[in-house]
């Protein structure tokens, strides 16, 4: 097992677990391990209990011949890299039916029918397609009156990224491009700044500085990204947006 992959995964899984949205009910534990830079079997066991994230890692690892916590595997899932394109679409489709069994099979079919070959096992695609295919009283979530609410949550739930403008106590002021809904389609809005929490005890945030690019999940700064990772996250997020718009378009074509 490549240890860095465990911590990289934990950094991105921490905040939704802390908020109670997924994973086991021991909310402070992951952060303690991150602060201590401790990557032991107990942390691995905790991470294995995430009902969606861990099965996605298993899929990517199985399809590409990697260890599930090889750094490249969680990196593919959260950020995006070339491994995503090596996961056969049929594997992803079958996985979504058989291993993501908490999901409604009708929603899975809608997502794949709409997105076609642009569907990838990337966290942001999972987030956006779930919001786009869940039915409410008057149709897909993104075309109803709750659209602003949905896109705001989608923006918090995806992995976003931005440039640090100021390091301010326990928060970073980050400039980033939000995901917004315009005329029934989602896309990137104008850049703006927002404050996100971070923990200076989690490496390498003790040395985070103005100009660094960071990944963010639920308004928590997860990792300082390399230029390659920023390019990949931008590229694969754009692909996810395109896929989601195809899903939304498939509703409107159906009338």
């Amino acid at each position: 097992m490549k240890d860095d992959g465990v911590l990289f995964h934990a950094k991105h899984a921490y905040m939704p677990n802390f908020l109670g949205y997924c994973g086991p009910d021991d909310r402070g534990r992951i952060l303690e391990d991150l602060q201590d830079h401790r990557k032991d079997e107990a942390l691995v066991s905790t991470l294995r209990q995430f009902e969606a994230a861990f099965p996605f890692l298993r899929l990517i690892a199985r399809s590409t011949g990697r260890d599930v916590f090889d750094y490249s595997v969680p990196e593919a899932y959260w950020i995006g890299n070339g491994l995503l394109e090596r996961v056969p679409k049929e594997d992803f489709y079958n996985f979504s039916h058989r291993e993501l069994r908490g999901k409604d099979p009708r929603e899975v079919r809608k997502a794949f029918k709409g997105a076609g070959r642009t569907a990838i096992p990337h966290h942001t695609f999972y987030v956006m397609s779930t919001y786009a295919t869940s039915s409410v009283a008057d149709g897909p979530s993104l075309s109803n009156t709750g659209a602003k609410k949905v896109t705001s949550l989608m923006d918090d739930c995806r992995i976003s990224w931005g440039k640090v403008r100021r390091v301010d106590g326990k928060a970073l002021l980050v400039e980033y491009s939000p995901v917004e809904l315009v005329d029934g389609s989602i896309g990137f809005g104008k850049p703006r700044t927002k404050r996100v929490a971070y923990d200076s005890a989690v490496r390498p945030f003790g040395e985070v500085k103005k100009g660094d690019e960071v990944s963010m999940h639920w308004n928590f700064a997860c990792e300082v990204l390399t230029e390659r990772q920023v390019r990949n996250l931008s590229r694969f997020t754009s692909q996810d947006i395109d896929a989601t718009n195809r899903i939304l378009g498939s509703y409107s074509r159906r009338g």
Binding site: Y21, F50, E51, R101, Y131, S135, V136, K149, L153
Partner: protein, 76 residues
């Protein structure tokens, strides 16, 4: 990482609800305003937002699937 979870609304406070999920855990301040849920309703929750309301039969079916996914996640 979030997952879409199905649970039952056990109390309401305006447009916010406490939802009890099938694994016994609960989440308060779930926004149910988009789905018009009330106490006793079954809802699908993603993050802290209810995206859809389910019939009791559909909820039972999803509960069964949820049990399987928990079992699979716990497997070595």
């Amino acid at each position: 990482m979030c997952i879409a979870r199905v649970g039952k609304v056990v109390s309401m406070d305006g447009g916010k609800a406490e939802v009890e999920f099938f694994d016994g855990r609960s989440l308060d301040r779930v926004d149910v305003s988009m789905v018009g849920a009330s106490k006793g309703s079954y809802v699908e929750v993603f993050g802290n937002l209810a995206l859809s309301q389910l019939t009791p039969g559909e909820a039972r079916r999803r509960r069964s699937a949820w049990t399987e996914i928990r079992r699979a996640a716990a497997a070595p």
